[in-house]
């Protein structure tokens, strides 16, 4: 039997040379907005860190009313570097959500949802909501007083939806109020249902990106000249690696300098503590809901607010179908709507904090 190198042995069995060939043939367009392409892989990097640190936390976390807080305290005080792992999990989640927003908003402004990439955009919006659901369900798991109060407020919001609202709230809570059942339910969602859904939608999203290639900005496309490009592997991936290293360094620095703390244990009978606020990514929504009066024309203000938010989400999801003339006046209005949304979200979030 002829002597084979380990590389050849693996190549015979896995055929990864074909994958390398495919990646070398995959071209990445080069233009002044290429930087925004990196945000997609940044999300994947943070997702991998989330999975790894999540598994580590899972080794000690106990999702029951009696032991949830105690197990998080144990992670932070008794397990070696447990506080670092929890902090990494928290900060990678924060940065992942931030990059999901940046990624979607940059694609909105660059109009990357133009045909044939409508489904890529829609699956991306679903991924945004799955990521937010991860953040919302994960926030309750430490079972401290702030997480309990924020979950009470958060799960109360859907109850204002006409007809199905109360049912949705009960489904989320596992009863009329937030209890240990809610904790178990959120844990199940956080570690099984949401990850499975995310993998499925992400797989579909990545398949579409492979199928249609990376979108070129409208302005570049209109010039009717071939854009310069380079291969995905190694030229683009090496550039991305530089970005990943900076992100990894920033994540570790943030986790060590600003570690995630733990509040007082949750007490189901106690009143909500003063200054309850959701995580930063829900602040603009929280402030918007606060601004609505109790009733408008006899209809509860909360109901009108939640219906308006649902309409906005619907418009956001179906954006590619609405923007039928990306290069025209309608397209410009939609681009300015993205800028207006960014300004609105920042102002509302700051207002909520200050």
């Amino acid at each position: 039997m002829p002597k084979q190198s380990f590389r050849e042995w693996l190549e015979t069995r896995l055929g990864w040379g074909q994958i390398v060939n495919f990646l070398q043939k995959k071209e990445v367009p080069r233009h002044k907005h290429t930087l925004w392409y990196y945000t997609g892989s940044a999300i994947l990097i943070f997702l991998v860190i989330q999975i790894i640190t999540g598994f580590m936390l899972l080794l000690y976390y106990k999702p029951t009313l009696e032991k949830a807080y105690q197990s998080v305290t144990q992670i932070m005080t008794e397990v070696s570097y447990g506080w670092v792992i929890r902090s990494l999990h928290h900060w990678s989640a924060t940065l992942m959500i931030a990059f999901v927003f940046i990624h979607l908003l940059s694609l909105w402004i660059l109009k990357a949802y133009r045909p044939p990439r409508e489904l890529t955009w829609m699956s991306g919006v679903i991924l945004l909501f799955l990521t937010l659901a991860f953040g919302f369900t994960g926030y309750l798991l430490p079972w401290d007083e702030l997480s309990l109060a924020a979950t009470k407020v958060g799960t109360e919001i859907p109850s204002t939806i006409p007809l199905i609202g109360r049912w949705v709230t009960q489904l989320l809570r596992g009863g009329a109020d937030v209890t240990g059942d809610t904790l178990t339910r959120f844990f199940g969602l956080h570690v099984s249902i949401l990850p499975l859904s995310l993998i499925l939608v992400l797989g579909f999203h990545l398949y579409l990106i492979q199928k249609h290639g990376m979108s070129v900005p409208l302005r570049e496309e209109k010039q009717n000249r071939p854009l310069p490009s380079y291969p995905f592997w190694p030229n683009f991936l090496l550039r991305e690696s530089v970005f990943w290293l900076i992100l990894l360094g920033s994540l570790i620095t943030l986790s060590l300098f600003l570690p995630r703390g733990l509040g007082q244990p949750a007490d189901l009978m106690a009143p909500a503590p003063v200054g309850v606020r959701p995580e930063w990514y829900f602040l603009f929504l929280f402030q918007t809901l606060k601004l609505f009066p109790a009733t408008i024309l006899g209809i509860p203000g909360d109901t009108i607010a939640i219906l308006l938010v649902m309409v906005a989400v619907g418009l956001f999801f179906f954006l590619p179908l609405l923007d039928t003339d990306p290069a025209g006046r309608k397209g410009k209005v939609i681009t300015w709507a993205a800028v207006a949304f960014i300004v609105y979200a920042v102002v509302m979030s700051l207002w909520s904090v200050l």
Partner: protein
């Protein structure tokens, strides 16, 4: 030259992982000594378990680690930039058109 870069990157990456995690985060192995790590119990404040370094020694260790980590990252970025220049040059001379069939030059 290429293999030196490869080995350097490998050593620095392994060093980063081991320096940071060491053998301390072993599943199912709580630390023997309580209070050895970053723990401050503040009953009076809003935050009951506040993580972070408890003394100057631990604070210094974290700063030294961060300094080392950023140095490693700077070196890796330098090496990556060199590599990017090399692969860009290879692409310009259409090296990959020949090697795309699985045989490198």
């Amino acid at each position: 030259m290429k293999s030196i870069f490869l080995y350097l990157k490998l050593i620095l990456s392994i060093g980063l992982i081991f320096f940071f995690f060491g053998q301390n985060f072993l599943p199912g192995q709580p630390v023997a000594q309580l209070g050895q790590h970053q723990l401050v119990k503040e009953k009076s404040s809003n935050e009951s378990v506040k993580p972070g370094p408890v003394n100057l020694k631990e604070k210094t260790a974290i700063l030294v680690f961060l300094g080392w980590m950023w140095l490693v990252i700077a070196i890796l970025i330098y090496l990556l930039i060199q590599k990017i220049r090399e692969v860009d040059r290879l692409y310009e001379i259409k090296y990959y058109d020949v090697s795309s069939h699985g045989q490198e030059k």
